[in-house]
């Protein structure tokens, strides 16, 4: 059967060169980077080389990179660690309404710990307006966090503009750049932030590793207590093979970024254009132009996302959905809700996220497979019936 993986926002495959770079550190170079002998030296040198590559990718200094166990951990570390370190100056935190759960739920935990939390609304395209951020900031605001891009709808935020607003107030500014780092240019100085989270499982590196970039001089409370690893800020024996993989993935992303972006955006535009012209009553979610190069996200009216995913999967196509029925909690995506999409429309959420391995044929395969699936589910849908009857009635 033909197969097409169009769920790269969930995770990307590992590039062969990344795997090759990692393998020696799963085999012969098994030393602990903290050890004072040759075995330790080999591992330590590899970790430091990777740190340098990650720093180069985002325009940072190597000593500003703290390796973590995931992007989620980097976000938790930033939100809790920065807020706690600043709490003598205030206990108010601001995030956007469309953050990933690792920021949203970490901020909710801060609320339980006595902090106050405000969420900045977004417009219909999922854009955070810097003026709205300014309105949410109060005298005792110590931390603001707005994601660089949302992987569910693809919208890229005006982080540098928001940074200017936050800087005036003296609060710290963190951005969750998990969806952007290694995919589009990310430069910490240009963005003007104080902290930034990233993970290579979004740019063809391994899972189980991430990093927090923390601007020199910014205080943070350690997230995991223990030994002296990562400057005492993140204890635990380093995941050397994964860190090496992150370094290699960062190096390749830096080298190939322009060609990757061109490849992805051509496929994305083919998919968006093709799908909107073939399937009526379909909305492109997210910003029409300020969007991630591989993101094609839609709401297809009168039908439900999980049913579409099951029928697509039956034809070997991997996609995802923010519909209530797809989530374990049976709640529609807070991102779509924040953008003002009505719940019944959000039920028809369908998200394709493209990757390097995708070719034009994959897109054409989806464009061929999806319309009959939509037709079939609409024929079954009482909502579609009502819509058609309403139209006949001249309403």
């Amino acid at each position: 059967m033909k197969r097409a993986y169009l769920d790269n926002a969930s995770t990307t495959p590992i590039l062969p060169d990344v795997l090759e770079a990692m393998l020696p550190y799963l085999k012969e170079y098994y030393g602990n980077p903290q050890s004072l002998h040759d075995w330790g030296d080999e591992a330590r040198e590899a970790v430091e080389e990777a740190r340098g590559k990650v720093a180069t990718l985002i325009g940072a200094q190597p000593e500003e990179i703290i390796f973590t166990g995931s992007g989620t951990e980097a976000n938790n570390f930033a939100i809790k660690g920065l807020a706690l370190a600043q709490q003598s100056q205030g206990k108010h935190v601001v995030i956007s309404a469309i953050e990933h759960y690792s920021v949203l739920h970490a901020a909710k935990t801060l609320e339980k710990w006595g902090f106050e939390l405000d969420q900045v609304p977004v417009d219909k395209h999922g854009v955070v307006n810097p003026d709205e951020v300014e309105r949410c900031i109060e005298d005792d605001t110590v931390l603001v966090s707005v994601m660089h891009a949302n992987s569910e709808v693809g919208t890229i935020q005006p982080i540098a503009e928001i940074a200017k607003v936050v800087k005036k107030t003296g609060a710290l500014f963190h951005t969750d750049a998990v969806a952007t780092t290694g995919t589009i240019p990310v430069d910490v100085r240009e963005l003007g932030v104080n902290a930034l989270s990233l993970t290579p499982n979004q740019f063809y590196g391994p899972k189980g590793v991430g990093a927090l970039w923390l601007k020199k001089g910014v205080r943070i409370i350690p997230f995991i207590d223990g030994g002296v690893q990562e400057g005492g800020r993140r204890a635990g024996t380093e995941n050397v093979p994964a860190i090496v993989g992150l370094g290699k993935a960062a190096e390749l992303a830096k080298e190939e970024m322009a060609s990757r972006m061109a490849h992805l955006s051509v496929l994305r535009d083919r998919l968006i254009g093709g799908l909107l012209s073939r399937i009526g009553h379909t909305i492109l979610t997210g910003h029409p132009t300020q969007r991630l190069p591989g993101n094609a996200s839609f709401c297809i009216e009168f039908i439900e996302g999980e049913a579409m995913l099951m029928l697509l999967s039956h034809q070997g196509i991997a996609a995802s959905s923010g519909s209530a029925c797809t989530s374990k909690a049976l709640k529609s995506s807070h991102v779509l809700t924040a953008m003002g999409i009505p719940p019944e429309v959000a039920q028809g959420s369908l998200l394709f996220t493209l990757g390097l391995e995708n070719i034009e044929e994959d897109i054409d395969y989806v464009l061929e497979a999806l319309p009959p699936i939509v037709d079939r589910l609409r024929q079954m849908s009482p909502l579609y019936d009502k819509f058609l009857k309403g139209k006949q009635g001249g309403r």
């Binding site: 999980e306 099951m310 009482p382």
Partner: protein, 138 residues
Amino acid sequence: MPVYSDKVMDHFMNPRNVGEIADADGIGEVGNPVCGDMMTFYIKVDNNHLRDVKFKTFGCGAAIAVSSIVSEMAMGKTLEEARKITPALVAQELEGLPKNKYHCSNLGAQALNKAVDDYLKKQGKEVKSRRRGKNEKE
């Protein structure tokens, strides 16, 4: 995606009795699009028996499979027998439903029951309905 039984997958991939009956004797609608699932059942009654049952469903894979199997379970039954189809029986017949789908998607028996109510009301007969589910509206 949730792990569905083979029976659920079969009824989702090949749903039985999809459609509507233009001159239905009773129509029952439950759920609403806002909460995610919506089902409409149409019945044709002849000599106290369900001669035809059809449905339309907006919802997830489980909701579609539930509607399909309810239509199959009810076909040819007497009104009294049809009333005895419960969500628990439906789940059993489908060889189980994922826990989080049990309540929201398992509305088929309710919709069918409502179609029977509608038929009886149209006949001027007293409606002795089972207790109403929380997703039903008068």
